[in-house]
């Protein structure tokens, strides 16, 4: 064992550094003051820090969630109801999901058996987001592309252990039945005929989202940015703050990327609504007709530049090669050029390659914050229902860092 004097310089929390496992009120206040972000997101991140020293995630039995559902529905429905076929859903790496059938007298419909999903945060997530914003967004966006119907939200965890929302269970699969993929839909391969059927829908839905007049869709939890530039600045600052809050082993390249991104924000006239995680693995399709039935995981939705979604779609780490071993398919669906051409035609929005490059760097950068920084903190503190999944996904962060490095190497 080396002498203590050799170790002293390296002790955690030394030299006035914050103990991130035990955030102080002063540190939280400084973080809030130092980063200008959407007020609802500030509330969510602050809540995360205030609860950080509390218990890790304890398994929540299905019976507890059923009790929560009964409590919530008792206040919302005037007629009898029952919960049936209650079970866990796996899939996403950040949220707990319970599927069930609600047997009820559905307003304007009559006696129904409606498949639903309760989506709840664990004690902390790799992606800390607002259930209220997600609920409002999914509810509203169904007007322009397939999204699950939304029923109720418990934003303050009045009925459930953590904030939760309830939406309709959509038919379909994320990958061909019987086919393996890596966690959370990464690495899903589609055969050529299926790719042909899905690609057009993939593009059309994205175009519809980016053309959508979201500012007049009644989503009160979203603060409307004063300008396109402010929309982008808020997003950058959000992820910069998350990095400070969560990272354990700092990554100098990440900070270099942060500086470059802040300094090179592209012009944006009108912020679109961005999905934030638009990729294979986040849509359901029915196998008998290859129709996309629902886009999922809207929690990262925010006002921003459409190129942000385009860049994630085309991230190298999220695609694969076609059967010829040479043609790279973005989001495992289609060659990049074909994707851009179809998107421009469907949306009327021109793809600016310089802006796209910026958002390639941004998408890789912010995904690193999520995978590596938040992934570390969540798994280390035992805050989720699947720390082992979260830990596994940290490895993706290093592939994404390489994407970021290559762009910065050419730009700097």
């Amino acid at each position: 064992m080396p002498a203590a004097s050799l170790l002293t310089p390296f002790r955690a929390g030394g030299a006035g550094l914050p103990d991130k496992d035990r955030p102080t009120a002063d540190w939280i206040a400084r973080l809030r003051a130092g980063y200008s972000i959407d007020p609802e997101i500030d509330r969510v991140l602050t809540r995360k820090l205030e609860l950080r020293e509390g218990p890790g995630y304890d398994p929540v039995p299905l019976s507890r969630l059923c009790d929560g559902m009964r409590s919530l529905l008792a206040g919302r429905l005037d007629t009898p109801f029952d919960l049936d076929n209650v079970r866990w859903l796996s899939g996403g790496a950040s949220k707990l999901q319970m599927a069930f059938d609600l047997v009820w007298d559905q307003p304007d419909v009559g006696p129904s058996r409606t498949p639903m999903v309760l989506r709840m945060e664990p004690a902390a997530s790799v992606v800390e987001t607002s259930r209220l914003q997600e609920f409002e967004l999914v509810k509203a966006v169904g007007a322009v592309l397939p999204a699950p119907p939304c029923y109720w939200v418990d934003a303050e965890a009045a009925h459930f252990p953590y904030p939760a929302m309830i939406y309709g269970f959509a038919d379909g699969v994320t990958k061909p039945s019987g086919k393996a993929s890596n966690v959370s839909g990464f690495g899903t391969g589609f055969p050529p005929d299926l790719r042909a059927a899905l690609s057009g829908q993939f593009v059309d839905h994205l175009a519809a989202l980016h053309r959508w007049d979201w500012q007049n869709a009644g989503m009160r939890s979203f603060d409307i940015p004063a300008s396109g530039r402010q929309a982008v600045e808020r997003v950058l600052e959000k992820w910069a703050r998350i990095w400070e809050e969560d990272v354990n082993e700092d990554i100098p390249l990440f900070r270099l990327g942060m500086a470059w991104l802040r300094d090179n924000i592209p012009e944006l006239d009108r912020p679109s609504m961005i999905h934030g995680d638009y990729r294979t693995g986040n849509f359901l399709y029915t196998e008998h007709d290859n129709r996309i039935t629902a886009w999922l995981d809207w929690e990262l939705g925010h006002p921003g530049d459409p190129h942000e979604d385009l860049s994630l779609v085309t991230l190298a780490a999220l695609g694969n090669y076609a059967e010829d071993g040479k043609t790279f398919l973005v989001s495992n669906l289609m060659p990049q050029d074909a994707f851009f051409e179809a998107y421009e035609k469907a949306s009327g929005i021109s793809v600016n390659l310089k802006t796209l490059r910026y958002y390639r760097a941004f998408s890789a950068w912010r995904a690193v914050a999520s995978c590596v920084a938040s992934g570390y903190r969540v798994a280390h503190l035992g805050k989720s229902h699947q720390d082992i999944v979260v830990n596994w996904l940290m490895a993706l962060g290093y592939s994404l860092l390489e994407d970021l490095r290559r762009i910065l190497e050419e730009e700097i």
Partner: protein, 169 residues
């Protein structure tokens, strides 16, 4: 004492493969996924645990080098980093330094570099930024090679095996 980590990992892998995984209820998809990941994590540990100390020593050497380059470039504000690098050199020279101590030194040095970058406006335009970018290339080659078993490198033919990079073959 023969109960070594290598043997423990080996028998844990076998238990997961032959006894635990086959017994998991196929309808419990969360349990199935996590049990599969436990097995995968054990396999990674089997390959990587023997290399961890060499990996940390390699990274610490390069961080010390980076600190030296910053001093040579007469960058302002490098005092904290220089002091930590000096301590890290003594640690590397100590025959008793174990992996956790090396880890702590790596984390401290990375943090100091990060604070230096955060303190500069437009740091990407400075010589400091270029030094960090160059160092990142080598660092990421190591990290990506280490993480190949996790399956996120799509056709990563550009990544040399970690054993080769660490000079262990």
């Amino acid at each position: 004492m023969d109960i070594r980590p290598s043997l423990q990992i080996q028998v844990a892998i076998k238990a997961m493969e032959q006894t635990v995984l086959p017994a998991v209820d196929p309808g419990n998809t969360i349990a199935l996924e996590q049990a599969g990941l436990v097995l995968a994590a054990l396999r990674v540990l089997e390959q990587r645990v023997p290399l961890w100390r060499a990996y940390q020593r390699d990274e610490l050497r390069r961080l010390i080098l980076l600190a030296g380059e910053m001093e040579d470039a007469r960058e302002e504000g490098v005092e904290e980093l220089s002091a930590l690098a000096a301590s890290a050199r003594r640690l590397l020279d100590s025959a008793d330094a174990e992996a956790p101590e090396l880890e702590a030194a790596v984390i401290a040095l990375r943090g100091a570099v990060g604070r230096l970058l955060a303190s500069r406006d437009h740091v990407h335009r400075t010589p400091l930024g270029k030094l960090v970018l160059a160092a990142a290339k080598v660092q990421l080659e190591r990290e990506r090679a280490w993480l190949v078993p996790f399956g996120f490198e799509a056709g990563s033919s550009d990544v040399r095996p970690i054993e080769e990079q660490l000079g262990i073959l």
